[in-house]
Symmetry: C2
């Protein structure tokens, strides 16, 4: 199946199902019903069945899905087994915090290097990857066949940094800058705005 | 209007419009068309008009929205002006990285304290807020009227930590643990799974 035919939201949910299956496997479950897996993932069973059908996974009525086989199908489909190099753009407050987080590497994403327009002044800090000036980015990205970037620059620099990334051949950007980036259709951007998440939550707090 | 009538996704998008309006105001724009604001926010103009109508904001045909007034209406509606205390649960790798990030405070969210089951061994590190043992959480939350928490514990501790938070009176949880939390309907959870975001991106990368 052509990847572009699967909605991005389905891919999100399918990753979540994978997470739940990890846990079921750890706890020695052999089978799981679509209802139970849907509840654990926070979706409707009908949605789960539609999503899994994209990957050719169909449960057996009354028995559900075999945990290990479904998990394998999902991770092969998602291409998780592959190692994926990443660059960090912006090594200020948030960028350097994320560089110290080891959760990316655990999942197969290695941040090869960080780039910052103030690289000179940041050097000597506790940044655990090589740190280069912004101008060195295009050559590095091409030389190391990097296709993914994490963007942690201030809002006013985000679009310009994005243009450089796209020009250099980056196809996927995890954007922590509080800006909606304009990119060509073949480039995918996922936005994570941490302050916006808190703002959204606080709206629902009873005073 | 009753808050519960506005869909959570609209609140998300409305926060985004606020971000775009910040920028327009900085650049001395007085008016903005719904089409321009929609493009900058990555949504359809019809969606934007529907969202803003929840807050009683209606543009003028042919002229659009007044930037300063719309921004004010949005932030008052979202309740952003208010200071909101937050606790961090889990001060390991990701938790301590986020504690060093100053973006929350800028938006009016102050992390008052962090709680960790291994607080003893983490003390003396570079955690910039008071760090307490997990058992101290319920009393602290009640005493300081904290309604929001950021959850950064490992997956296998997440649900138990959540139960404690809910019991203590927390109404909103920003969840960084890779687990779908089960909470009562009156508690809102926003999930941020950083590795999942990368995984999702990498699916769309051409090999």
């Amino acid at each position: 199946m052509d990847k572009s035919e699967i909605p991005q939201k389905s891919i999100y949910r399918i990753s979540l199902y994978g997470r739940c299956l990890d846990r079921l496997l750890e706890n020695d479950h052999e089978m799981v019903s679509s209802a139970a897996l849907a509840t654990a993932s926070g979706v409707k069973p009908s949605q789960l069945r539609r999503d899994l059908a994209y990957f050719g996974a169909f449960g057996t009525r009354g028995r559900g899905y075999p945990v290990a086989a479904l998990r394998k199908a999902i991770y092969e489909g998602l291409g998780r087994a592959k190692f994926q190099p990443v660059v960090m753009v912006g090594a200020g407050n948030l960028g350097s915090a994320l560089l110290r987080y080891d959760g990316f590497k655990k999942e197969g994403y290695e941040v090869l290097a960080a780039f910052d327009s103030a690289a000179e002044s940041l050097r000597g800090g506790d940044i655990p990857v090589p740190l280069y000036a912004s101008e060195d980015l295009p050559e590095f990205v091409k030389k190391n066949s990097v296709k993914m970037a994490i963007l942690c620059v201030p809002g006013e620099q985000a679009q310009e940094a994005t243009n450089v990334l796209v020009e250099a051949g980056i196809q996927g950007i995890l954007n922590f800058s509080p800006v909606m980036l304009q990119v060509p259709t073949e480039v995918v951007v996922n936005n994570v705005d941490l302050a916006l998440e808190l703002q959204n939550l606080s709206y629902f707090i009873k005073k």
